[in-house]
Amino acid sequence: MGMMKIFKRKKIQGIDDTHYLTLKEEIRISKENNKIIRQFERRKARRNVDESEYLTQMRDPSNVVEFDELHTYFYTEVGTVKAVNGVSFDIPEGKIIGVVGESGCGKSVTSLSLMQLVQAPQGQIVSGSIRYKASDGKCYDVTKMPTSEMLKIRGKDIAMIFQEPMTSLNPVFRIGEQMDEVVLLHDSSATPESARKRSIEMLNLVGIAMADKVYSSYPHELSGGMRQRVMIAMALSCDPRLIIADEPTTALDVTIQAQILDLLRSVMNRINGSIMLITHDLGVIAEMADEVVVMYAGRIIEKGSVREIFHNPRHPYTIGLMKSKPGKATQGERLYSIKGQVPNPINMPDHCYFYNRCDHRMEICSKAYPEMLQFSPTHFSSCYLYDENKVGDTKNVKESE
């Protein structure tokens, strides 16, 4: 008898009843979303916005981009997803910034916010600013810019390379046509001939041997590695000041990944720009980045130079990530693993987001969100473990079960 009781869906302690939203809650969420979204969309659609409204000053003139307390939320049917929840970091000129984190941590949304490409109307930049120093010396706040102005920057000053090179190239046009289009769009003085010359030059630059042949082929005729090279060539064709590479090698094989990373590095030296490298692969970060930003559930939990992050990680999540990577040292033994699941950033609690998965959690961790602590001029982390004011609480360290 008891058997049946367990398996009757509704009778299990009411858990499954609460797993789904009730109709009432759902309607309430939709109503709230619609209200908020309408507000944001109205502001974005304004015309003839005065330039002074989005002109600003860089905090440090040697930076290309400064993210300052950026909040990007998604108003979804099941609640507000705080995809980026107070992110601040700088991209200095001529450096590679690695942004690392797991799926859903907000690393891609951060870069999309910079391009104003967050999927509207659900996704909206709620507050904070992204300061961008354009090639003309002016400094814009991207979050306040109207879309029409943004078009001038997108693709020219800031270029993007995506994870899946097959889906980011249009399958019905030849490679050359797509590349020429980019050049013609952003350079008003370009003629079809000069665009063609430029495209072929770029294809040569990214190490494509038969540039003429590739120029006149269709995307499906190329291999994955080739397509990614084409994407890089396309990104380079307008002399961008910043390249955003979103998981550029995740879909590629190791040997091809090595080629592409090599290429990216050499390209970096050629153009005088910066790269924002987004990836989940710590190995790629260690190899490429100068500075590293570690994100977790929409927040930066640790940032610092690549050596600081890899030799002296502070946040338990960063430490856990490093330890859980299998390899030579771990052969045959049990791997260290962070327990639990990657959190779904809906209805996040106020305490540290890593609280439930953390081995070093203390009582204070379940209270306010920890503040950023500074360890060196470049190294920051937000964890109570290192907060000396709160050090009294370390007695309460709970051992993991």
Binding site: T255, A258, Q259, G283, K325, P326, Q331, G332, L335
Partner: protein, 330 residues
């Protein structure tokens, strides 16, 4: 003869000269071309051990897994599972044998039927094959779910309510519930987040310890393979280029491809600058592979003989074989 017998008992799976060709339609008449997805591959796996199969996309590692389980028909060769040739037995018998050999798939999103609740996904085949008596069925499923780190109240939930890691646990539970002896893991962790990867790897190793499973672990991630396997096979364009004990292969890679592959893995230490061997070009099309050694187009130590003769897999030290002309005596 005696040796053969001993081999049989020791190895749960012996694959001899397995071939899997797919016909491709050509525009011109008459000529029939084949994609040689798996071309003359032999391997054997000892009971209770893990064999890692590495290679890049298109090297046939997934096809070999599916062909061993005869999810694809076999073109040629033998697949001896406990001495029974799976390539030849009739489908009805094969269906009865299926529970003994299971598979875990790469994509946790497409490998679970979207319209069946979790309990049903795991338990369906258990009922079909009468793995446990009817009276114990529910308890058994709950036990399997617990073994795989799933909570019993998930029984009536649907796959779309779970994250990738949990879905992969469901996929593992489905395989484990049938009390298999041999499990093919086709890139089980490559679609997962780093922190979840280690959980799943640990789960799989725990289950192996507990129930003595034999794994064929297919992956493109060398560090995962290095962690989990006892022996290793490296594939390139449908052929096995190097195989042997894990320690021997990783400490002393012999085939130029293995060397390049190993050197290409990024290391999580900014101060170690690898002496990287960067291969030229792309993997050739498997419809029209290079003559002789298939790797010669990208090989740095390519010789004249490489384009003329196909190298065969030969043992160069105990438990370490390689197919490369560099190591042939003359």
């Amino acid at each position: 003869m005696e040796n053969d017998k001993k081999d049989m008992n020791d190895n749960i799976l012996v694959v001899n000269n397995l071939k899997k060709y797919y016909p491709v339609s050509r525009l011109s008449f008459g000529t029939k071309a084949f994609v040689k997805a798996v071309d003359d591959v032999s391997l054997s796996i000892k009971r209770g051990t893990t064999m890692g199969l590495v290679g890049e996309s298109g090297c046939g590692k997934t096809t070999i897994g599916r062909t061993i389980l005869r999810l694809h028909e076999v073109t040629g060769g033998q697949v001896l599972f406990d001495g029974i040739d799976l390539a030849k037995i009739p489908t009805r018998k094969l269906r009865k044998m299926r529970p003994q050999m299971q598979m875990i798939f790469q994509d946790p999103y497409s490998s679970l039927s979207p319209r069946l609740p979790i309990g049903e996904i795991i338990g369906e085949a258990v009922r079909d094959h009468k793995i446990v008596p009817k009276s114990e069925y529910r308890q058994y499923i709950v036990k399997v779910m617990k073994d795989c780190g799933l909570q019993p109240q998930y029984f009536y939930r649907y796959p779309h309510e779970f994250s990738g890691g949990q879905r992969q646990r469901i996929s593992i539970a489905r395989a484990v519930a049938l009390k298999p002896r041999f499990i093919i893991c086709d890139e089980p962790v490559s679609a997962l987040d780093v922190s979840i990867q280690s959980q799943i790897i640990n789960l799989m190793m725990d289950l192996q310890e507990q129930f003595g499973y034999t794994y064929l672990f297919i992956s493109h991630d060398l560090s995962v393979v290095e962690h989990i396997s006892d022996t290793i096979g490296v594939m390139y364009l449908g052929s096995m280029v190097e195989t042997g004990d894990k320690k021997l292969v990783f400490s002393n890679p012999m085939h130029p491809y293995t060397k390049a592959l190993l050197s290409a893995v990024p290391v999580s230490d900014p101060d170690i600058k690898m002496n990287r061997i960067i291969l030229k070009g792309d993997i050739p099309s498997p419809v029209n592979p290079p003559s002789g050694c298939k790797f010669r187009t990208r090989c740095q130590s390519c010789m004249k003989i490489c384009s003329e003769k196909v190298p065969v897999l030969k043992e160069y030290e105990k438990g370490h074989s390689v197919a490369c002309h560099l190591y042939s005596e003359n």
